[in-house]
């Protein structure tokens, strides 16, 4: 069995309540940090651990924390990003539902390190039921003195509040999240200034993903160096992967970074192989990362085995690689139609664009419409180049990365599965049946394209 760090005790009875959690060593990191460490020392451990943000971008957490501005007399905030709306991602929900105190504990320790006396959990509105679990856990923690005034007699105060959203993917983007937390539309802010300087209520703020903050607990307990021993290279520690799509065993898995992709997708400890005839493609890190053919998921273009790590998954750049992203993993079997899936992706981004900037507001809708036409058997050969051109004109020209996220799935699908797009033009009648490839799985005719 692979080593579990966050989920070591997840199956223990009563782990959801404070008592059970405490019985398995819960809140030790708070005791250690508040009693024996200076805040800077906690930041130092996080730096040493090499922990990288688990929300998608993979930015080093210790570095982010050290950017936090500390002007006199201005409050600082920690905001936990529990918006989890990236299609394919459901790891934070799993963690919060089953072991909510791990997040609360991580927040206390992290807030202490950052000097924040108020922390928020911004959770997507659809997770109301999870918000209730968190509120209950917060109540327990407060009653037991892990939250509130003068925690453990250290003089450190902390309040945690849960704030629900109301249905908007864009509120996972950190500045849109802050706007939403301030009671506004979820329009991302222009950066700079970054949240570390002007965040919530224009005060210095750190925004971190649920899993990132949870990982602070073992880092403080065992030391950053211990944590850094797990994993490979600059991908230290473990990562939660939520696996779905056409695999035998969907679910949330904690993996050591550096696990071979082949093992992850095919072994019975994890995904358990294909549900259907054969794998066709994989999206390893949430819908925003490039889709890759199954073969390129197993092996890099150089022919080396690919690993589940930040570096290995992006080996080959966008030509032959992809990204670890949020860990929202889903695999396609050969009955699935890539054009249909790409249309679905494009429709998602069209629906979720906040509408602030013109390339994303107009371009996402345009992609959606052209893909719809192709999938419904009304496309033309020029449409494929048109799609390429539209995505190219969105990417890099928008306020926030949602524009890029809308462009990449389209670009990668065309790059690797151009033959399927062409099939949709040459076999218009056949593709009018929505289950066209389920009846007659698509055979790849071309090698992966490198546009």
């Amino acid at each position: 069995m692979a080593r579990k760090i966050l989920f070591e005790h997840i199956d223990k009875p009563g782990i959801r309540g404070l008592e059970g959690y405490r019985a398995h060593g819960g809140y030790r990191s708070v005791e250690k940090a508040l009693r024996t460490m200076a805040p800077e020392a906690v930041v130092e451990e996080v730096k040493k651990s090499g922990l990288r943000g688990r929300g998608g971008a993979g930015f080093p957490t210790g570095m982010k924390w050290s950017f936090l501005a500390k002007p006199e007399g201005v409050p600082r905030y920690l905001v936990v990003n529990a918006d989890e709306s990236e299609p394919g991602t459901f790891k934070d929900r799993y963690l919060m539902e089953r072991i909510p105190h791990l997040l609360i504990e991580g927040m206390v320790t992290s807030s202490f390190a950052l000097g924040a006396n108020t922390a928020f959990i911004y959770i997507r509105g659809e997770y109301f039921h999870v918000a209730r679990i968190l509120e209950q856990a917060i109540g327990e923690a407060r009653a037991a003195g892990w939250l509130g005034r003068n925690i453990l007699g250290s003089g450190f105060d902390l309040d945690i509040h849960v704030q629900v959203g109301a249905g908007a993917y864009i509120c996972g983007e950190e500045t849109a999240l802050l706007e939403s937390l301030e009671g506004k539309r979820g329009n991302p802010r222009l950066k700079p200034p970054f949240p570390a300087v002007k965040g919530l209520y224009q005060c210095p703020t750190v925004v971190n993903n649920v899993e990132t903050i949870a990982a602070v607990v073992p880092i403080v307990n065992d030391g950053g160096e211990e944590y850094a021993k797990v994993g490979v290279g600059r991908s230290t520690g473990t990562k939660l992967i939520s696996a779905g799509g056409n695999i035998k065993r969907p679910g949330v898995y904690e993996i050591e970074l550096g696990l071979p992709c082949d093992e992850f997708i095919n072994s019975d400890e994890y995904c358990g192989g294909v549900d259907g005839r054969a794998f066709k493609a994989v999206v390893p890190g949430g819908s925003s990362v490039p889709i890759v053919p199954y073969e390129l998921f197993l092996r890099t273009a150089k022919g080396e085995p690919r690993l589940m790590s930040y570096e290995s998954l992006s080996d080959g750049g966008f030509v032959s690689g992809t990204m670890l992203g949020s860990g929202g993993f889903y695999a396609y079997n050969d009955a699935q139609c890539i054009v249909r899936s790409t249309w679905n992706h494009a429709r998602f981004y069209h629906h979720e664009s906040c509408g602030q900037c013109s390339p994303c507001r107009e371009g996402t809708g345009w992609l959606d419409k052209v893909l719809e036409r192709l999938e419904l058997g009304e496309g033309r050969a020029e449409d494929i180049d048109l799609l390429w051109d539209i995505q190219r004109k969105i990417e890099g020209n928008t306020i926030c990365p949602l524009g890029d996220a809308a462009a990449w799935p389209v670009a990668s699908a065309i790059r690797h599965f151009r033959d399927e797009f062409e099939y949709h033009v040459t076999h218009r009648e056949k593709v009018k049946d929505p289950r066209h490839f389920a009846r007659e799985p698509f055979r790849r005719t071309a090698r992966p394209q490198t546009v």
């Binding site: 409050p75 989890e84 709306s85 990236e86 299609p87 394919g88 991602t89 459901f90 934070d92 929900r93 108020t118 997507r124 509105g125 659809e126 997770y127 109301f128 039921h129 209730r132 509040h161 704030q163 629900v164 959203g165 109301a166 249905g167 908007a168 993917y169 939403s180 937390l181 301030e182 009671g183 506004k184 539309r185 979820g186 209520y201 939520s242 696996a243 779905g244 799509g245 056409n246 969907p250 679910g251 949330v252 999206v283 819908s287 929202g328 889903y330 396609y332 699935q336 249909r340 899936s341 679905n344 992706h345 998602f348 629906h351 979720e352 906040c354 929505p434």
Partner: protein, 185 residues
């Protein structure tokens, strides 16, 4: 957005709105969480409460009451309410069925599930059955992709759905006939 929310031109005929005492107490508790002068932060949670108190949708009257409670301009509330997809700006059925249609669920059969629901209820997404019981709504990934296809009704997730399971769910809901809200405990 699947359908554009058209601006409302009149509040005539729409029933007046007032928070119940318990709801108001809950709102005040929410407002107290935020720093001095930042009560606008409570807007989204309070809109959820208002929606639950107003048969599952936000009428102009309900939004105006929220504006007044928080001391906001009305347009500030309209702007926010119309941004977020969980807020319904038109009347809905007793049950709103939020069916996920995003790619991971599609890989596991959400297209077929939606088609089945359309046929069974005789409505398209965005519409409400004639008896006012069900509103069908398609939504984006709800963080349940490993257990798709799925739908949300009120605060509850219904996962790993099959045609049989969803048929049973519809029958159960119809028999219970009690509004489901996101804020249900």
């Amino acid at each position: 957005m699947s359908a554009r929310t058209r601006p409302v031109t009149t509040t005539e005929g729409v029933r007046p709105f007032a928070f119940s005492a318990t709801a108001l107490a809950e709102c005040r508790e929410l407002i107290a969480r935020y720093p001095e002068g930042r009560s606008k932060s409570a807007l989204i949670p309070i809109l959820h409460i208002a929606q639950a108190e107003n048969d599952g949708w936000l009428s102009v009257n309900a939004m105006d009451a929220v504006a007044e409670l928080l001391g906001l301009r009305r347009i500030e509330v309209y702007e926010v309410a119309s941004f977020y997809s969980m807020f319904n700006l038109h009347p809905v059925g007793t049950y709103v069925l939020d069916v996920c249609r995003t790619t991971p669920c599609m890989l596991r059969g959400s297209d077929e599930l939606i088609a089945h629901l359309e046929k069974k209820l005789g409505i398209h997404p965005g519409e409400t059955t004639k008896d006012g019981m069900f509103t069908l709504k398609t939504v984006e990934c709800l963080g349940s992709c490993g257990t798709g296809p799925m739908l949300q009704c009120g605060a509850r997730y219904h996962e790993d759905l099959t045609v049989e399971k969803v048929d049973r769910l519809i029958d159960e809901l119809r028999a219970r006939n009690q509004r489901a809200n996101y804020t249900d405990r």
